[in-house]
Subunit: 346 residues, 2 copies
Amino acid sequence: MKENDIKNLVRPVVRSLRPYDAKEIPCKIKLDANESPFGFKGDIFRALKFLKTNRYPDPEAKELKIAIGRRYGISSENILVGNGSDELIYYIITTFGGPVLHPIPTFSMYGIIAQALGEKVIAIPLDRGFDIDLEKTLNAVEKEKPRLIFLSSPNNPTGNCFSAERIMKIIDASKGIVVVDEAYQPFSSEQGFLPLLRNYRNLVIMRTLSKIGLAALRVGFVIADAAIINEVNKVRLPFNVNSLSQAIAVAALKEKKQLSVFIKTIISERERLFSEMAEMNSITPYPSEANFILFKIKNPDDMYQALLRRDVLVRNLNDGIKGCLRVTVGTRQENSVFLKALRELS
Amino acid sequence: MKENDIKNLVRPVVRSLRPYDAKEIPCKIKLDANESPFGFKGDIFRALKFLKTNRYPDPEAKELKIAIGRRYGISSENILVGNGSDELIYYIITTFGGPVLHPIPTFSMYGIIAQALGEKVIAIPLDRGFDIDLEKTLNAVEKEKPRLIFLSSPNNPTGNCFSAERIMKIIDASKGIVVVDEAYQPFSSEQGFLPLLRNYRNLVIMRTLSKIGLAALRVGFVIADAAIINEVNKVRLPFNVNSLSQAIAVAALKEKKQLSVFIKTIISERERLFSEMAEMNSITPYPSEANFILFKIKNPDDMYQALLRRDVLVRNLNDGIKGCLRVTVGTRQENSVFLKALRELS
């Protein structure tokens, strides 16, 4: 069997995909991946003291669901935990199928996973203010009848929350499931969609621990009507969240004070970053409700490289959003190094 | 939106699925899940000392691939690591599609995942000796042209290795991919299919760390031609193996002596279990190359319950393989309790 033969065996939709480019660029100040600059200290691993490496994880992640439920005031039957939000997107699309609608630009995995699973993707450009284009979206909802709509709010990489009113109109109009991905909600001044879960049975809210200091764990979760949870649970792999991540997540969620300090510090640093960037002549930062800032600049490719030479890694989005880079909020010191470099280089 | 409306939104293939029944039965001696009775001691968690909880995992699991490669004498480009073998089955079916052929009885996840992904499943009963029914399988290969064949050898739950000659004939005859799942290979006296990888480009070997003391981690891996790895890698979620599991797996794979003792002890205990069970009048144990023993007994349901009352949990397979229970090899002491109970109850 030759290499060509192997390619011919691959489903055509997969054949045309490219592996996710996750090349690591060695760099001292890593402000590219929307990670928290604050991790939990080593003593968090004490939670593993009595963990038996030879036993399978709790397939229901019961303790973790209780810990999540306590934090968000919801019941375990409304929660499904995944190996990161990515896995939950996989499961949701496997459960409901396509067409899958999402705005663009947004988190890339909605489209990538839908494509890998052979589902049609409908990408509706955001309006000029980076908000949902309501008219085009409602038109597409009517004509194409998407079974799934993914709305990331606050949106990555633009940083803004979509208008709650527009989201509600879409949920009202849709005969399918609407997933509001609130990965960046902890950094937002808006209240998010949790309080609206009772009003909309086709609403699914997605959250993650990855942005609040626990990206290493891969723990995401969806919150939805128990009927939806039951259906998605059918395609969930029984032991999808490993024992170590379950234990550490439970321990970390108990550290309410520390989590709160992490989040508050990130928000205040984001505001400092924004106001200092706004004062620079050649730079236009966009207001952010997330843990990163999108900004426009004359020579984004050059600036990206120049920052890299100063050991500051940001995300170059010039391919998709012309003229834009995205910087994740780091520690105060990291942000200062970034600002200084930006000032000197621009 | 009513509950019925939600069900109607679900893809029909998923609607008819039932969630994996992973109910936990509290029991002192747990011999039901083919776990190793031996876990790594707490000091293995020292490997997490410098782990940053706030950073995403290495998406390529480079160190882990090197550690796996060293153990099996293969190169990283021939390895893909998954969140347990389950996830890799998901990916392999997403990549190549169906029809999916597997013998029956065998590991249930091949069929469950294929069904969830909407692929046709062809299940060919094993012959009386629990080996592959070569004639029926080759007929199905010719007529149905399965794009994927899953063969678990040693097979769960029967415990035997399939005839290597029959497997080779199937690989030769198949124009699709043949996955030989060697989850239980460490306990087998046969050499397995790794040395044959060069001869067959459509051969994929699946392995796991779950049976050798690390089920808590969820680390499985496939070994195959780089062209196959490249294709499956396209549907892999970028951060599918969390940082904690990567680090602990690397540390555990260095403990060669301990791993070797674990495995040797399990094999010798399996032999003791087998010979003592074989001496009991009303019990027929089947020879095993794995870390469990399938056995036939007159009243399997009663025996299952009676063992449970003595705090020994085994797997009741009477639904699928009439008259059979399956016992996982435990510690010497656990096995002795099981044998004593079996002797007194049968």
